[in-house]
């Protein structure tokens, strides 16, 4: 039954077209909330697509829609030759070894009561891997993300934020997925930790060829890790293109505004950027 996807198709790993997500209204008079207003985005195998935007722009919702955690009201999300929209829970479970996730908050994304080894073996065991096999894999996974092998016998709370995020990355890698949705995975981390975790993401990608949808509010983070960048604003993608172009020479006024708003760690450059931003704002 298994058939390889033809060369032309394998150019695209995931293809989202006109995705709409609408949350029903909570009150009598408030209208339903349209979190995504027809978003289209494609991801190639082994590629990082950065998704940048401010809070409420819908960037997290798009990630959750791909993961099957947000209700898609219309549009299509194709993964390979499979349609993800409308899959029931049982069918969705079969995708666990294709698409995985790393969440923002390393404190709430790991069950505080489970040993790290069980956090990591949970997806394997759920997919029917034998326990002894899973235990071996856990050790290997810990090594891959730079944690000692005995980390498995400890609880998540014994680790720092950066280490917890490494555990979360290891969990995502456990099933050898081809796409990982990373939802602000470094936003809760300290500056130096953030840089190291980003390097880990890149290293893993170089080694395994996994693709990332990398959601972040921070343009500099997205610039560092992405091959292509999409900018979201009010539930729509306003700009999508190569990283250098979008983050260096943006076309859309909103992207420009975003770029100019981030302060640079250099007093003189920041003064110039500030003047430029204030000039833009007056236009």
């Amino acid at each position: 039954m298994s058939h390889a996807v033809s060369e032309s198709l394998s150019d695209t790993l995931l293809d989202a077209r006109d995705v709409e997500v609408t949350y029903p209204s909570r009150g009598f008079r408030t209208p339903p909330f349209r979190a995504l207003k027809g978003v289209s985005l494609d991801i190639k195998p082994g590629e990082t697509v950065g998704l940048v935007g401010e809070s409420g722009s819908g960037k997290t919702t798009l990630g959750r829609a791909i993961l099957g955690l947000a209700p898609v009201s219309s549009g299509s999300i194709r993964y390979g030759d499979r349609e993800l929209v409308g899959l029931d829970r049982a069918a969705r479970r079969g995708l666990a070894h294709e698409i995985q996730v790393v969440f923002q908050d390393p404190y709430t994304s790991l069950n505080p009561a489970m040993l790290v080894a069980d956090v990591l073996s949970e997806p394997l065991v759920a997919q029917g891997v034998a326990k002894s096999e899973a235990a071996d894999r856990v050790e290997m996974l810990l090594g891959q993300v730079g944690l000692p092998a005995d980390a498995g016998r400890r609880l998540p709370r014994e680790f720092s934020g950066g280490q917890r995020q490494r555990i979360a990355i290891a969990r995502a890698l456990a099933l050898e997925p081809r796409l990982i949705v990373c939802d602000e995975p470094v936003s809760a981390l300290d500056l130096s930790t953030q840089a190291r975790v980003l390097d880990l993401f890149i290293e893993i990608q170089d080694r395994t060829g996994v693709a990332y949808l990398f959601v972040s509010h921070d343009l500099s983070v997205v610039r560092h890790i992405s091959h292509r960048v999409a900018v979201m604003y009010h539930g729509e993608i306003v700009e999508y293109g190569d990283c250098e172009q979008v983050t260096g020479d943006p076309r859309h006024p909103y992207t420009k505004k975003l770029l100019m708003a981030a302060p640079v760690p250099d007093p003189e450059m920041q003064r110039q950027r500030r003047v430029e931003r204030q000039r833009l704002a007056l236009l």
């Binding site: 040993l115 997806p123 509010h217």
Partner: protein, 623 residues
């Protein structure tokens, strides 16, 4: 009990048990917890073996020996009005009480946990119906229903207590439902779903674990309530007259109150002991759970900064007061040490000898990563350290005045008027119960002695100054009606409302979107210039420092490792930690190059994975 265990995975079951052992140990170490357990076990054993232990048949009537006082021959606790042995009756009475309490607890748990889990996890119409029924049951006064049902049921303790179980099950239902809704939205549950776990596995593994401790606590309280209500019913004559019961004995004692008042003591004592054992056990479980959740999470702040806790090391101040001599500095922090007492009596120093000074109109950036002590330093300057924090050394001077030795009253006078504060989280720093305007007017009236109308006028001007488009509307709004960016503007307006000389801003833009951050920084810069305010800006963002600060102090592990003018520090950082931090910033680094085709490793996508899973993993591992 009814709670289904996650049997289908013994490995994970073991994981769930492991941390609980710690909790159990904590409960046993808590004198109230172990005491409660001992009392319950003793009463259960006494009741179970009551027939063997009792010196008399509890129903044996000795008409010659009625109302005998305690310690009479052969009757350690005396006899009742019919001449029956009190001790024997007391022991046997425990049986029915235990059965009754167990029935109530089991019934309420079965109903409450099952419906609560289903309603919480799957929501929908079942949730509506169940919630509504729970509301209805909660409205009914349970005692009166049981009294009414006596007309139907008669003196049948088991049925009565089962009905009570139904009546109290809404408490469990609501608890479980709200816990489940909370856990359901946790990211780790989402992660489990993405990892391909079924709903059943998620409930068994992740959700039941979280909800079971609160359920145990609630069950202990319900057991206590059941004992009380059962005794109450027996006391008013609705008990089972064929067997002795604690409530029934109280009723008889009540009737013999004038002749033998001591008779009310024993059953009351038993009930009191038994119920308090359950309450103490419940409290101990709760405390143990809270303790284990608290590990490594910093304690939340409390209102009172205990002045008792301030132990200033004498002599320290006199020895080293360079900035005061110069006289120009507005704020001088000299060798400040802030610590938190550890259980072993040691002091954990979070600020460890910090010295800095801020001149009039100067903006100082206090930079560091989490745990560097920068926020604690800021709170020490404000005098708003958490209650358990101690200033264990050093000195603080504002305009040459000693802040630490200053009486609290004088310190309050400085707040807002001389030293003001802008917090990090905009939403949690506005009182949700009061309108924005009130929260601005109140301090101005207290600190500046303004009239209400004058304060209102100034507040509206301030709101306009911080860039709020419709000041009147924001003034009249409640905090939940405005956005985070607006809330931060309101907090800035509040901080400058009493014209402070020094503004302490603790990560004032961290919680905001970058475009809003830029606007807030503009406002702060503008206000600082026009009022010539000094500022201490606590931040982790070197971009913010570059934008706003004249001087910078870099903190690491409670100490300042480098301090310089902003231009000099960025141009030539000296300390390796500063260099490392600056190297870590991504701003200005080159973008990642586009993905080249050759770079993309080709892996075959198989839509139907018909290889055995292990083989698939072996293959993919070699990639």
């Amino acid at each position: 009990m009814s709670i289904p265990a996650p049997e289908h995975n013994p490995q994970l079951l073991a994981a769930a048990i492991a941390p609980r052992e710690g909790v159990l140990k904590k409960i046993l170490r808590d004198p109230f917890g172990s005491g409660g357990i001992v009392v319950i076990v003793v009463i259960v054993l006494l009741s179970v073996f009551a027939k063997l232990l009792a010196p008399f048949d509890p129903a044996y009537v000795d008409i010659q020996a009625t109302n005998m006082p305690p310690f009479t021959d052969g009757h350690p606790l005396g006899t009742d009005a019919s001449g029956r042995d009190v001790l024997s009756r007391l022991l046997v009475a425990g049986q029915l009480t235990l059965i009754g309490a167990a029935v109530t607890v089991v019934i309420s748990l079965v109903i409450g946990v099952v419906t609560g889990l289903v309603a919480g996890y799957f929501a929908g119409p079942f949730d509506h119906a169940a919630s509504w029924t729970a509301d209805m049951l909660m409205v009914l006064p349970s005692k009166i229903v049981l009294v009414a049902l006596f007309a139907v049921i008669g003196p049948n303790t088991v049925v009565t207590m089962a009905v009570l179980g139904v009546m109290v099950s809404p408490g469990i239902f609501r608890l479980v439902r709200s816990l489940v809704i909370g856990v359901k939205n946790e990211l780790y549950v989402d992660a489990a779903r993405v990892a391909g776990l079924s709903s059943r596995a998620i409930i068994g593994r992740h959700i039941l674990y979280t909800v079971r401790a609160p359920i145990i606590i609630q069950a202990a309280f319900i057991a206590g309530i059941a004992v009380l209500i059962q005794a109450g019913l027996e006391f008013i004559g609705l008990g089972d007259p064929s067997t002795p019961t604690w409530g029934g004995m109280l009723q008889e004692a009540f009737l013999a109150m004038y002749k033998a008042p001591w008779l009310i003591l024993w059953p009351g004592l038993m009930i009191g002991l038994f119920v308090s054992a359950f309450i103490l056990l419940g409290n101990a479980v709760r405390d143990a759970m809270e303790d284990s959740a608290k590990v490594k999470v910093p304690k939340k702040d409390r209102l009172r900064t205990s002045t008792m806790a301030v132990t200033v090391q004498p002599g320290r101040r006199a020895a080293n007061t360079p900035a005061i001599a110069s006289g120009s500095a507005l704020l001088v922090v000299d060798s400040l040490v802030v610590g938190y007492p550890l259980p072993d009596g040691e002091l954990k120093r979070v600020v460890d000898g910090v010295s800095l000074s801020v001149n009039e109109g100067e903006v100082l950036g206090l930079v560091g990563e989490s745990g560097s002590g920068k926020t604690q330093t800021a709170f020490a300057i404000l005098g708003l350290l958490p209650e358990e924090a101690q200033i264990a050394g050093g000195a603080l001077f504002f305009r040459g005045e000693d802040l630490i030795g200053m009486p609290e009253k004088a310190r309050v006078k400085l707040r807002g008027k001389s030293i003001a504060y802008i917090p990090q989280e905009p939403m949690s720093n506005l009182d949700p119960a009061f309108r924005v305007g009130f929260q601005l007017v109140e301090p101005m009236r207290a600190q500046l002695g303004l009239s209400k109308s004058e304060a209102t006028k100034q507040a509206l001007e301030l709101l306009a100054r911080v860039g709020i488009p419709d000041p009147k509307r924001t003034f009249d709004a409640y905090p939940h009606q405005i956005s985070g960016g607006m809330a931060q503007r309101v907090l800035i307006a509040g901080a400058i409302s009493c014209n402070p000389d020094l503004l302490i801003a603790d990560e004032p833009t961290t919680a905001l979107d970058v475009t809003v951050q830029a606007e807030i920084l503009d406002i702060l810069r503008g206000l600082q210039k026009e009022r010539n305010m000094a500022m201490v800006l606590v931040t982790h963002n070197f971009g913010v420092v570059a934008d706003l600060c004249d001087t910078v102090a870099v903190m690491q592990l409670g100490r300042i490792v480098e301090q310089n003018s902003t231009a000099a520090l960025f141009a030539a950082p000296v300390h390796p930690y500063t260099k490392m931090l600056l190297d870590s910033t991504l701003e200005g680094t080159p973008a990642r190059a586009p993905l080249r085709r050759a770079e993309s490793p080709v892996r075959v996508i198989t839509t139907e994975d018909d290889r055995p899973r292990e083989e698939a993993l072996n293959v993919s591992r070699s990639v």
